[in-house]
Symmetry: C2
DNA sequence: CATAAATGAGTGAGCACTCACTTACATAAA
DNA sequence: TTTATGTAAGTGAGTGCTCACTCATTTATG
């Protein structure tokens, strides 16, 4: 059985690789993420970060020289390292199951990645927010996430289509529909302020996607 | 034939009702919206607004006493007046067509409202951004948009279901899927920075939704 | 000529960021 | 086991700058 690292662990590992970050620095990163998610990056002061981290303001600036660097330190590893790893692990996991039906694949994908999405909605919020504003960040995300999706998801979809289990719609549209359906679900849960709803609706998502992506 | 007001006109009407707003004030509103969409609300200074509007900084403050009031002036009519009116018009338009098939309804809905979405993506961006940050704005949107959707879309869906043309999934999920599919399409177009793609993909959206929302 | 609209230099509050200094810790000599 | 010493981590009062907002004055309008 392939191990399926969760995000928290993966993020910790990435941080650990970065030459032993001291405890207070991790508190700073955690406090930053929490506050950015709650209030937005631009509305969060470095004093607030220091206070929530239980740290002096100067400490916030020890490792990262500007507030922007701090933001980048949170977002970049998420996009360039954590996400690829998690997608790769999913692909491996699927590869071990032979002759999946469309329904089985979707159920596996959604249950697996939906949990990921919900757990990391904090980062997701911040990422979406900044992507709406910064064109260069959009570019960076496209150039990282795009290839990952193509490498991990497209082969699976192609195989499924060869078994006459999948719609003839282009792969990129299939991915758009799957990802979009999941993303919408988190956003609605966030809108309603109740993440229990998120889980309850998952069976509906699977049923809808299963039917919508069936071959004619 | 029912007139289908576009957003710009509707917005102008709402503004006109507000007791004759002078030309320069409209320039301020337009400049604000453009800048908020480009850079985000928090990253936009009142000086920038004044410059783009071709106006002194004091003028920005004549009608709206704070920057937040200015934002509210842009978002509130959109949510409370413009959106309801446009949804109402769509419902009326659909009501005139008897015995719609699911495909016809979806095609009408998506072509109609997708154009709306694309045209107003500027406001949409700002709205999404602020909703991710302000809990009270989320509340306001829910309490306005929710009932509108229920009143305009649910009856149409119920009728369709009575004709055995629609899935048994709950109405709120059907709406989630329709809206989410459209929203995802704008967001991807925005991500790729090419709104021509938005239109090209519409036939795919219709095909996917038509199939996904068919009865078993 | 009265009232509303517009101006833009000015103001003070709050913010990101700095830096001289203190504390914690590791290694090693006494 | 103490003491010395170098290095990295942490501190928080201080600084200068940006920005939202004001107001005395000027300009348009009916």
């Amino acid at each position: 059985m392939v191990k399926n690292t969760d995000i928290r662990t993966a993020f910790e590992q990435v941080m650990a690789e970065d030459h032993e970050i001291p405890a207070k620095q991790k508190q700073v990163l955690a406090a930053s993420l929490a506050l950015f998610a709650e209030q937005g990056f631009a509305n969060t002061t470095t004093k607030q970060i220091a206070d929530r981290a239980g740290v002096a303001e100067g400490t916030v600036y020890r490792r990262y020289k500007t507030k922007d660097e701090l933001l980048a330190a949170l977002l970049k590893p998420m996009v360039t390292t954590v996400l690829p790893r998690l997608m790769g692990e999913f692909a491996q996991q699927v590869a071990t199951m032979q002759d999946l039906t469309r329904h089985q694949l979707l159920a596996a994908l959604i249950k697996n990645r939906a949990a990921f999405l919900a757990e990391n909605w904090q980062v997701g919020k911040v990422l979406i927010n900044e992507m709406l504003i910064q064109a260069d960040l959009r570019q960076a995300v496209i150039q990282n996430a795009g290839p990952i999706i193509q490498k991990t998801l497209y082969p699976i979809l192609d195989q499924l289509r060869a078994q006459h289990e999948l719609t003839a719609l282009p792969n990129d549209m299939v991915c758009q529909f799957i990802i979009g359906t999941m993303l919408t679900n988190v956003m609605r849960a966030n809108l309603q302020g109740d993440f229990a709803l998120f889980d309850q609706r998952i069976p509906y998502l699977i049923e809808f996607l299963d039917q919508g992506l069936a071959p004619k």
